[in-house]
C-alpha cells in the first residue's frame, strides 16, 4: 500500500488544521474498512489520514430534545446492539446496520463512513431517509445541518465541502405509533452489498396511516419514492399496495453491475417494496 501519514487529533481545531493542509491529499479515517482497500488499489491516494475516533462526540450515541444524535464514528455493531437504537423508535437504523457487511466489518465500519462513501447501496441510507435524519457537518467556520436527502449528490459524491467533516447524524423521533422495516435483497442472505434495499415506515395519521418509503441501490443515490408514499397514504389494501409497488418500479433508474442487471433490479424493486410494506403492516397490526 502507498505510504501515508496518520494523525489522531483529539480536538476539532487540530482536526480542521490537518484536514485543510495545503498541497496534501487528506482523508478522514473512521472505520477504515473502505479506506484501506480503496487506498491499496490506488483509487484513493491520501498523503495524510486523519483518524476521527478521538474527536469529542464522534463515538457517542445521545438522546437530545431534537432526536437521537449518532456520532459519525459509531460502529455498525454498536448501532445493532445499542438499547436506544435497538428500541421502539429508531430500530429501523439497527435493522439496517445489522444488514450491512459481516460481523468483522460491522465491528469497525461506521455510520459516518457508510454515508460519506456515498455508495448508492449503503444500507444505512434508506433507513435514514425514511427517518428524515439530518447530517451534522462541521468545519472551522461552524456547524450546518443538511437533510440526508440532500447529502447524497451522486455515486461517491456528497454535499461535504473541502475542510468539512461529517460529525454525526441527528435523527428526529418518528411520529407516535410508527412502525418501520428494512428489507434487503442480495446474492447471499448476509454479507453482501444490496441488489435492492427498501425501507418503509408508517404512522397513524388522520384516521389512516402516513407512509415513507426509500429505495437503495436502484438509482445514482439512495432515494425516497414519493409517489408510492402518496398511494399508500390513501390506503393500504391490496390494490393500493400493488399500485405503490408500481410507483416504486417507476421511480427507480438502476444500472447493470456485477451483482445484478438493471432489468432484474427493477423487477425486484416491486417485490422487495411489497415485502417492506407488508412487514410494516404486520408490525402495525
Amino acid at each position: 500500500m502507498r505510504p501515508f501519514d496518520y494523525y489522531k487529533p483529539d480536538t476539532f481545531e487540530e482536526a480542521f488544521r490537518l484536514l485543510t493542509l495545503s498541497d496534501k491529499k487528506v482523508l478522514p479515517l473512521a472505520g477504515a474498512t473502505d479506506l484501506i482497500p480503496m487506498t491499496r488499489d490506488e483509487h484513493w491516494q491520501p498523503d495524510v489520514v486523519v483518524d476521527v475516533k478521538a474527536l469529542p462526540g464522534l463515538c457517542d450515541i445521545t438522546e437530545t430534545p431534537e432526536g437521537l444524535f449518532v456520532g459519525a464514528a459509531v460502529s455498525m455493531a454498536k448501532l445493532v446492539h445499542h438499547p436506544l437504537v435497538n428500541g421502539p423508535r429508531w430500530n429501523l437504523l439497527a435493522q439496517a446496520a445489522a444488514a450491512m457487511g459481516n460481523e468483522q466489518v460491522r465491528t469497525r465500519a461506521t455510520l459516518g463512513g457508510n454515508l460519506c462513501t456515498a455508495s448508492p447501496a449503503a444500507d444505512s441510507a434508506p433507513a435514514l431517509l425514511t427517518l428524515e435524519a439530518f447530517a451534522v457537518i462541521r468545519s472551522a467556520q461552524g456547524e450546518r445541518r443538511v437533510p440526508i436527502a440532500e447529502f447524497f449528490l451522486g455515486p461517491r459524491k456528497t454535499a461535504l465541502q473541502k475542510g468539512e467533516l461529517l460529525v454525526g447524524v441527528l435523527i428526529p423521533a418518528p411520529p407516535e405509533g410508527a412502525a418501520a422495516t428494512y428489507v434487503k435483497l442480495s446474492r447471499r442472505k448476509a454479507g453482501d452489498l444490496a441488489i435492492v434495499g427498501v425501507a418503509a415506515l408508517a404512522y397513524p395519521y388522520n384516521g389512516g396511516y402516513a407512509w415513507r418509503v426509500a429505495l437503495g441501490a436502484v438509482a445514482p443515490t439512495p432515494i425516497r419514492a414519493p409517489e408510492a408514499e402518496v398511494v399508500l397514504s390513501a390506503g393500504h389494501d391490496e390494490a393500493h399496495i400493488e399500485q405503490a409497488t408500481k410507483c416504486a418500479f417507476d421511480t427507480c433508474c438502476p444500472i447493470d453491475d456485477i451483482r445484478a442487471s438493471a432489468e432484474y433490479r427493477k423487477a425486484m424493486v416491486s417485490r422487495i417494496a411489497r415485502r417492506a410494506i407488508e412487514g410494516v403492516l404486520e408490525k402495525l397490526s
Binding site: F4, L29, K53, N102, E103, Q104, V105, R108
Partner: protein
Amino acid sequence: MLHEITLNINDETYPVIVKSHYTLARVLREQLGLTGTKIGCENGECGACTVLFDGAPVNSCLVLAVEANGHSIETVEGLSKGGDLHPLQKAFVEHNAVQCGFCTSGMLMSSKALLARNPHPTEDEVREALVGNLCRCTGYIRIVDAVLDASC
C-alpha cells in the same frame, strides 16, 4: 511516518514501531512473527485474517496497526494454554473441520467471539456469525458441527 505503539496480544505486551500505512495483519505476521493469522482477500470478504480486537472480531487486514495502539488483541496463537488445545480447536480436530487450513484461524477466532457472547448458539446463529469467514474446501458442515459441539 513512524509510530511507537504498544500492542497487547494474547495477554502479552509488545512495544513495536510501525509505519502509518501498515495493517495490523502485516505487523502481526511480519514484525511479530505471529503467522497463524492469514491474509486472504484483503477486502473484508474472506475473514482469514480475523483476530479479536477488545474481544470483538475484526479483519486485521482492514485495521491499521497504529489504530490498535493500547488495545487488546487475540490471535489464534493465544487459544491453546499450557500445551492444551482450546475446546474449539479440539472440536475442529474431532470433526475434521480443517481441510487446507487457510481459513481455520479466522474461523476459530470468529467462533470464539460468538461463544463468548452466546454460549449456546443455534445452527443458524453459528452460520450467521461465520458469514464473514469463507471456506472453499469443507462446505462448512463440519465447521458448523464443530462449533456446535464446542458450545455444548
